[in-house]
Amino acid sequence: MKINEFISRYRKWLIICPVVITVLMLLPLTKARINPDLMQYFPKDIESKINFDSIESIFGKFEPILIVVEADNILDESTLNDLSELHDSLIYLQEIDDVLSLFTTKYIRGEEGTMLVDPVVNYVPSTPEEIETLKAEIESNPLASGIFISKDFKYATFIVDPAEGFTDDQILENIFRIVDLFREKENIYLSGLPYLRYEIQSKAVRDLVILLPLGLIIMLIFLYFSFRERRGVLLPFSVVLMSIAIAMGLMPVLGYDLSIIAILVPIMMIAIANNYGVHIVARYQELNAKNPDWSMKQIVNESVTRLYVPIILTALTTIFGVLGLIVHIMRPAKQMGIVSSVAIAFALIFSLLFIPAILLGMKKGKPRESFKSEEKHSLIDKFLVWSSNVSTKLSLPTIYAFISFLIIVGVGIIHLQPSINFEKMMPVGHSLRTSSNILNNNFGGTKNISILFEGDIKSPEVLKTMDKFETLLKSMPEVGSVNSLSSVIRLISRALNDPGDELYDKIPDDKQTISQYIEFYSMSGDPEDFEKIVDFDYTKALMNVQFKVSNMKDLQKVQDEISWLTNSSPYASLYAGQCLIEKEMAQSVVRGQIYSLVFALLAIVILLWIIFRSPVAGLIGSIPLVLSLICNFGLMGWLGLELDIGNSLLSSVAIGIGVDYTIHLFWRLKYELSQGKTYSDAVTETLKTTGRGIAINAISVIIGFSVLFLSGLVILKTFAFLIIFSLLLCLLSALVFIPALCIVLKPKFLEKNGKYIL
């Protein structure tokens, strides 16, 4: 049975089924849940995560929220009073377990045979002398200076440990409620993973609520200007709506959470799903205008019969491109690959069956005048005239120009870096970015690695090893602060012994003295004071290394040093840190990008090979893709845009969409050549006819994606910028570079079997 007969026979079912499927897919959407936890996007068995978990299992989960307060002088009486009130208000929150600040961290010192252990700020000083004394005390206190207060006394930090059993929303909204009371006088910034998750979550919800309807409205307007006929707008639009419903409904059905990048799925559907329907409607309008005596059935039959092969082919290439995401390492990327390829398949089926089925039941519309007139003045038409001139008359220079452009832009790849800073997802000036700048410039830095020591922690050998590590690490310019039990033991030794004593500022040589130091401290401090650096039975201890790095290379340098130290000691067993997980994630983002890129590219080469029955078609056809990808990564390098979880999806999507233009071009070129035209004439004719379709198609996709510029998340904005750049390059390659190349190379595959295509 031919496709047109099938549509006529099952017309009713072809209308009912899509509607029923859509409604059914809407139901599971009520169960959809946004998951902003970036850590869960990656496999559990990555080494850095295993190490991190094993440290958490010993020392407890510690996922703090950092509050940074900026003031002219933190030690001012009124500022300190505010800070003290802020501290007290925070500890009164149910959602908070503990708050570490100047009011809790200890000042350990010895005075005339007395060891004193007090909070750094025990009371708020009021006279200039008291303030000076406090200043001097803080400057000499390694547990406070550079950790809870900056060296210039302009910033203070509060480390808030959230209580278990509360959501990020509950915790942060309560913190905001309190912090807002102080914002009038002091600048306050927040940082930390729970806050990042909270911000992603709220921005993702906002994006879905605003961008999705906006994208749909823009698409409606675009369709209206393209067709100026109600059915021309509503039919492709209904396919968009149905495919969005399927993509989004499929996620909860398959048990997927909505990730930050899942927001891209409906936007992608807006951009892609209308493509196939648009071709059908355009052909219907064309035939309706050119053949006034044809019946509706004739028009629909003719449109479908002529178009179904190229439409299926372009949809297939898009599906294969997007499917490249399933070999990505990031779970949401795989999920996005699966749901969007299924949804694109449905968009294809609906476009080929649902739209014609509806059209069959309609009366013929009023023919559009524009198809009759030969005059064309639009920008697209002018561009097409220019491109056919350039590619036919200046073929070789065109090729050279493209290659030069490729080299110049492509060189930027050497500057391309994977992103190791999650806060860059947020716009400049966002609290997360400001706070991380402050922490990097005025405190020890935003990165932290913990080294786990195992053995008899109270033994001098272990503590001296720790002390040696501390000294070596502190000498690195990147390292801001190092803290462990050994630094506390040295502080106690300074408080208990007088300067000049043999034991002053030293790790004692015997275990008894160390044990007595610790016992002595436990009589004046809190048992919790050591909880985060040594376990209950003193068999495991942690050393916290705080440092600042802005790129992968420097992070690797610090990691190498720590790794070397750890390997050199029998007591240091492993090291871990959030930043190392982020680093491994960044590396797997790069790997994921490469995997899906190679997969998609290979799939496309093979598909083109099969479609045009020639490996050369595969190679030439993939040139626009390779060119646009190299330029895309090169541009990122030049602009300093880092490779992140968002733009790592780009190549698959760009390949999937971008290849369509070349297919349409080859298809028409073959036909024109089979009509006995010269290469030059064939190119000119192809660009005039199919070139227009390709350009309109590309513009609709670009308009679809451009909605992302309004996103609250920088990674989505960057994604929009880069995908549009890539698609424009694919378009330019398909309309200028490939025609010029075909004229020069005259590939054989274009000259075979062309007659049967159109």
């Binding site: 009164y92 004193l116 252990v117 208990l496 004692p508 007595q516 209950f536």
Partner: protein, 257 residues
């Protein structure tokens, strides 16, 4: 007329009944029931974490009251690496405690200054405040009612810190004590943190009546309800009164016993 005098009798009687159940008095009487002017004991302190690990300390303690000051001497018997470490505490009626520690490996006496009574006692869940008699003026008292605990009828007395400073000092906001009506012994106390959540529960048991008529709890357990750690103190030997003279409690003699 008759009714009027009856009413008057009731009016006079009511305050007397209330005063007999005045929560502050109940608390004061309760703490004096277990107060000793001088005694000596050997006790083990077992500090348990939430994973089943335990730290054991054995301490010899002597307490004696000299004038208004209660002086306590504690000496570690085990574990071996802290054996001989001694602590001397002067508990004044009107000011915060003084505390000195002798470290045998340094052969030095060092003073510890701490204003916070809520601080941990030897790294256990007990606080220094739990080890001494509370100052009743620091709290407001409320009788919450009665309850039966292990068959004993008890008053439920709530003591709330009168200021935020005191809350910080004691490390809790309020304490609900279960005080046995018959004996005035407090069998259980629940401590609440500043957010009103249960922080710790203290159980006192194995009360033994001493020759002076007062009681001594041979077992004390303090459980931190928020982190599931608990510490227990078991008295191995107890002796009423101490033969030590004031000189033995002098700072200059610390570590020499």
């Amino acid at each position: 007329m008759k009714t009027k005098s009856l009413l008057l009798a009731v009016l006079i009687a009511v305050p007397t009944i209330i005063s007999a159940q005045n929560p502050k008095e109940i608390s004061e009487k309760s703490s004096s029931t277990i107060e000793f002017e001088s005694m000596e004991m050997v006790t083990t302190l077992n500090i348990h974490d939430d994973k089943g690990n335990v730290r054991v300390r054995e301490v010899a303690v002597a307490t004696k009251k000299f004038g208004e000051t209660t002086k306590t001497l504690m000496r570690f018997i085990s574990p071996p690496d802290v054996e001989g470490t001694s602590i001397l505490v002067y508990d004044y009626e009107d000011k915060s405690d003084d505390m000195w520690v002798f470290l045998p490996s340094l052969r030095k006496v060092r003073r510890i200054v701490s204003t916070e009574k809520g601080k941990s006692f030897m790294g256990s869940e007990f606080s220094n405040a739990d080890m001494s008699k509370p100052n009743t003026n620091d709290f407001t008292y409320k009788l919450l009612g009665t309850d039966v605990l292990d068959g004993k009828e008890c008053w439920k007395v709530e003591a709330t810190c009168i200021s935020r400073e005191l809350e910080r000092e004691y490390g809790f906001q309020k304490r609900i004590s279960y005080i046995e009506k018959a004996t005035y012994l407090s069998h259980k106390s629940e401590l609440f943190d500043s957010r009103g959540k249960v922080l710790k529960t203290m159980l006192l048991s194995d009360f033994r009546k001493q020759t002076n008529g007062r009681y001594f709890a041979y077992t004390m357990v303090m459980k931190n309800e928020q982190n599931n750690r608990f510490s227990e103190m078991n008295v191995k030997q107890f002796q009423l009164g101490s033969k030590l003279d004031e000189n033995s409690f002098a700072v200059s003699n610390l570590g020499k016993q």
